[in-house]
Symmetry: C2
Subunit: 670 residues, 2 copies
């Protein structure tokens, strides 16, 4: 963590003022000293390998060079994971942790063109393949003799999976499926590694047999020759082009022209096709919830992780950058002394903790629900789905905004790639769209909330995350006055959510008098999203209050006090961001707002000298931060110049374009 170079005194002075034990925070944040030791071991294991270090920052490379370098490193990383396994560290889990999990995302910073092989291709065979199919494919895939991807999304079809157009038509004569892409919109589009890396794919296609369509099913399809890597006959394949971020993933497209695969290549653990073409329906299954919940939890943790990097960079920089005198005739202060600067960063630091805690809360909830499920109790499944949808939307939206605010808080230097924000933003903003587009997510939660509202109106009992609706209907809280405390703000949000759900429902019912229920829902979409968002904010706050209360029982007083301040800052800031809703629905008054504003300012001041301990405690090594502005030693100006000197253009005094274009031009009018 510490650097060999001398630490900027502006930053070392700040560190002396931190009143709590940073290592205690780190252990609390990562849930135990063992986890921290393991994290540090793995970071060091990978980051100390000179082969994985980029001599020239990859952003200077051409797109093609970036890809080639990414393949080189991907192979190295997987080989190093195998080394770890040979030393007895972890089984399948370590691939998931390092390639699909937050730790891996942190260590490697760039996405990897063979991640999808481990995170989706292998699990799909395990989850959807029969034991025969597993026997045939798992070991080859596990040993990377074949490398696969997961091809679902099409050029014209993302969110609405039933609209997929790729067809797999069974031919009973040859006992084969014939795959086709009937038109442009059916081209597979986006799968990671599909462009030039993988030679197999799980392809999701509409199954046709004996003249009937049986909906979408998964098929294993070979795409490229195993020796030459040439695309097989009938297969059109390539990459989809470069993007805002994630340019090392090699996202690809794929089209089929009468590609034949044997019957046994349909993954048949659930639905089946018999040799004669007869289709056997699957037993209905809720098992797919597992993967989805896992992905949502990973996204929430990722948002916490990415945002924790952005705030580390912004805060450390703000403690060494000096700009704009506050008092005339005094030297320029550290920019962190400007209250407006504190406000850009401190609430984002609180969000990191809230998102991380809520991700873990959601995961515990999921495990509880699957436990109930084993006893045949499906009651909480829709609730779990609903809360995970709005959490995905709120946390990715807020993380994206907060990362940009952090970047902007560092002024012009934040615009440099060497500041590291753009890499972070590229990853975070992608999550606003993938795994469920955020507007769709909000509307899914809203649909559930409306159902709950109707149930509650009928006197039915509700599950925990929505039970506040019952209280509201029973009139238990509609007149409560606003209280400025985390639990008071939570109650205000629950009241506001309840009233907004009620109001949306009223407008929905009015519209149903002359519109279909679906069109009425569409017309009420904007209000439904508001309701969904209020519900989600209440849940984030509730989960954090509960977990913090419980998990800080054993911590030192000093740490507990700082975490309490952060929770208060989070809730006060939340209330001030939603004064519109709270004034409208939750009995807030103007003097409440004035009081909240003072609390906010007081909390910023209170946290001023402890906050550095929190970002240091996130424990990101400089290599992982990848930022000249955020290094532990705070030597930002040396870093900026050193980074500039790495630019390929700076390797020569005069670029050839002078002789080719500039000089002839400058001399032409002499």
């Amino acid at each position: 963590m510490t650097s060999a170079t001398k630490v900027n005194p502006d930053l070392s002075d700040e560190r002396k003022k931190v009143e709590f034990d940073v290592e205690e925070f780190t252990n609390w944040y990562y849930k135990g000293a063992e986890n921290v030791a393991e994290k540090r071991f793995l970071e060091n294991f990978f980051l100390s390998d000179p082969e994985l270090e980029d001599k020239v920052p990859t952003s200077y490379l051409s797109h093609k060079e970036k890809y080639e370098n990414a393949v080189r490193k991907a192979v190295l990383v997987v080989n190093k994971i195998k080394e770890l396994q040979a030393d007895g560290r972890g089984g399948v889990d370590i691939y998931m942790a390092l390639l699909g999990g937050t730790l891996g995302t942190a260590i490697f910073r760039e996405a990897n063109p063979i991640t999808v092989h481990f995170v989706m291709f292998l699990p799909a065979i395990m989850n959807h393949g029969t034991s025969d199919q597993q026997a045939e494919w798992i070991s080859r895939a596990w040993n990377c003799n074949i490398i696969g991807t997961y091809a679902q999304t099409e050029l014209g079809h993302g969110t609405y999976i039933r609209g997929l157009e790729t067809t797999a038509t069974y031919d009973p004569k040859s006992k084969e499926f014939i795959l086709n892409s009937p038109n442009l919109t059916s081209y597979k589009w986006w799968p990671g590694g599909l462009g030039h890396t993988t030679n197999y794919a799980i392809v999701i296609a509409q199954l046709h047999s004996l003249g009937k369509c049986h909906g979408i099913q998964p098929f294993i399809v070979q795409l490229r020759d195993e020796e030459t890597h040439m695309p097989l006959k009938g297969i059109k394949i390539g990459e989809i082009g470069n993007k805002v971020g994630m340019n090392t993933v090699n996202n690809g497209f794929l089209a089929f022209d009468n590609v034949r695969i044997p019957l046994k290549n349909m993954l048949m653990k659930n639905a089946k096709v018999l040799e004669d073409g007869q289709f056997i329906k699957p037993k209905s299954s809720v098992l797919t919830y597992g993967t989805m919940m896992f992905v949502r939890v990973v996204i929430l943790k990722d948002m916490a992780s990415y945002l924790s990097k952005a705030v580390t960079i912004a805060l450390r920089y703000s403690m060494v950058r000096r700009q704009s005198p506050i008092e005339p005739n005094k030297p320029e202060p550290k920019i962190i002394e400007h209250v407006t600067q504190q406000y850009k960063i401190f609430p984002a630091i609180a969000k990191v903790i809230v998102f991380k805690i809520t991700a873990e809360f959601l995961w515990d909830m999921y495990n509880q629900v699957t436990h109930d499920l084993d006893k045949g109790d499906l009651e909480r499944l829709p609730e779990l789905h609903a809360i995970s949808c709005c959490l995905k939307a709120v946390c990715t939206n807020e993380a994206a905004q907060a990362v940009e605010i952090c970047r902007l808080s560092t002024g012009g230097h934040g615009y440099l790639n060497s500041a590291g924000f753009q890499d972070i933003y590229g990853m975070v903003t992608a999550a606003q769209t993938y795994e469920g587009e955020n507007t769709v997510m909000f509307l899914q939660t809203a649909r559930y909330l409306i159902k709950c509202w109707e149930k509650a109106m009928n006197g039915e009992k509700l599950t925990p995350t929505v039970s506040y609706l019952e209280n509201f209907i029973k009139g238990r809280n509609s007149r409560q006055s606003f209280q400025n405390s985390p639990s008071g703000i939570l109650k205000a949000f629950q009241l506001a959510a309840a009233k907004k759900i009620a109001e949306s429902n009223k407008h929905l019912e009015e519209r149903k008098k002359y519109l279909s229920p679906e069109e009425a829902t569409n017309q009420t979409g904007l209000e439904l999203i508001n309701a969904s968002e209020l519900h989600c904010q209440a849940f984030l706050l509730q989960a954090t209050i509960e977990v913090l209360e419980d998990s800080t029982k054993q911590t030192s007083l000093q740490l507990r006090s700082v975490l309490k301040d952060l929770l208060e800052l989070y809730s006060v800031d939340l209330a001030l961001r939603y004064t519109g809703s709270l004034l409208e629905f939750a009995n807030m008054t103007s003097s409440d707002i004035e009081f909240l504003q003072r609390s906010l300012e007081a909390l910023l001041k209170k946290l001023r000298y402890n906050i550095l301990g929190i970002v240091d405690g996130f424990d990101h090594p400089d290599q992982i931060l990848g930022s000249v502005l955020g290094t532990y030693d705070g030597n930002v100006y040396e870093n900026l110049i050193n980074a500039a000197m790495k630019s390929p253009l700076n390797q020569e005094d005069v670029n050839k374009s002078f002789h080719l274009y500039l000089k002839p031009f400058m001399k032409s009018n002499l």
Copy 2:
């Protein structure tokens, strides 16, 4: 405008439904048919040149290749401008329009490494040089025999210019200035073209003479040999590295080690140094306002222009993309049918018009004020400065957010570089920081508002943009009930701004009892920014109401009606975004909000079939949009695949990384 290929019927059907004459809107928007003809002539003049077309999208190139290509094109563009001049089209103006103005930004999309030569180097010599200095430098600069930049910002100093550290010390013996960079933080950092392109610079440095510092002054400094382009002795120079956007600008750094320049190289139109080293103070001057106001107006127009591209892309795509059934058992609708999608795009379209109109309003105001100035009346200068500060901040912030919302509204495809949003965002978000960091801008306006408040409390008369404060203090409007109309919403914003200024001032005064005025201002910073923002929103709305009223008197009824709907949409959306402030300060009630929500939904519906005419009327040729999703013909899927096929990786079936890394890896565990 129209394309040779067949227009997607989804889009041609939509065009038939537009009820107004699109060309009439275009002529209104660009203020006359002559301007539109000139715009189209210039677009065609540049865009039809095959030498300026990129065969491979530049985003695929390495950083170095991007630079070399940019120099090649910059020379071509300037030569083509000279061609235009030879044909009698424009003088200096055309350089400014095409290199520093919105039209040029639109046509060339990428920034240019010699733009600063025309936009800052040349004007600086004209504005700050004596007639002798002009005679010496202007014609060489005008003919591009030398190419210069403007070096002010330093690694450690941006906003606070007085903090600059570069020194120019006069040596009376040799009659030279000696330039030095005393430390890292004094390195010049950011000037466009400085890296490897320019051979001269205007350098802003602290003038020392006869043992005294006389503050910052401008100097002409040669940086590179005119024949070899090698950096001169004592000069350390290079580029600062790649960035979120604007990567063809070649921003550079520069450090001096005892670099000597003759006395005559200090630009001495204002301050002077005599041969013996005596310093002659400048007469105080307000002339610098001119450049600053010009730049602010250009930024506002740029924001309108960039955002107009983003909305064009998002809207056209939304009218051909089909996704997620609204009604079960019906086909997937165009995504524009989802009300939530309309809300992402329509208000942003209204913003384009508001920003453009306000930019012109500001420019007229500036000309009025300079007219008064000539008569010795300086009264409105501070007002003009104050309103331009908050406008710069609000318009760049809102444009940045709106561009990202447009990108996200196009789902995953928007994340592709070929969608064109990233280029736009890179330019827009840069403007949040350059030419006055936005938080600093808000606080400057706030300082003015507090002064006005004090004046008004003392019964002094205020200038027009703040006269609403007088009304408030006289109690003329504090009890007015909220009215749902553009002028009613304007009054509500003025009331809210007045009350927020009053409240901030109250808190400021309280703090002044125990803090210095400056520290009290710092502690009240968050509220001062809120006040400043409310003031700005009121001004934007007021300017738009006034100009629209006036400028649509001659238009057709159909066009006037659509523009009126857009103004209403803008104001209703604005009110709904600020319900917190309006409920707190402007007598808004819950039922007002419910009513506004209905108005919003009604306006979206009303504009649904006319809105395409507005974006078509922005009249962006496909080449300028640079987006596969936004072409006039709406053939997005063909475009997406064609763009992908241009990726250098897709030029070969098998990339060499397969043979180098993947194959050995895949075979290693057989």
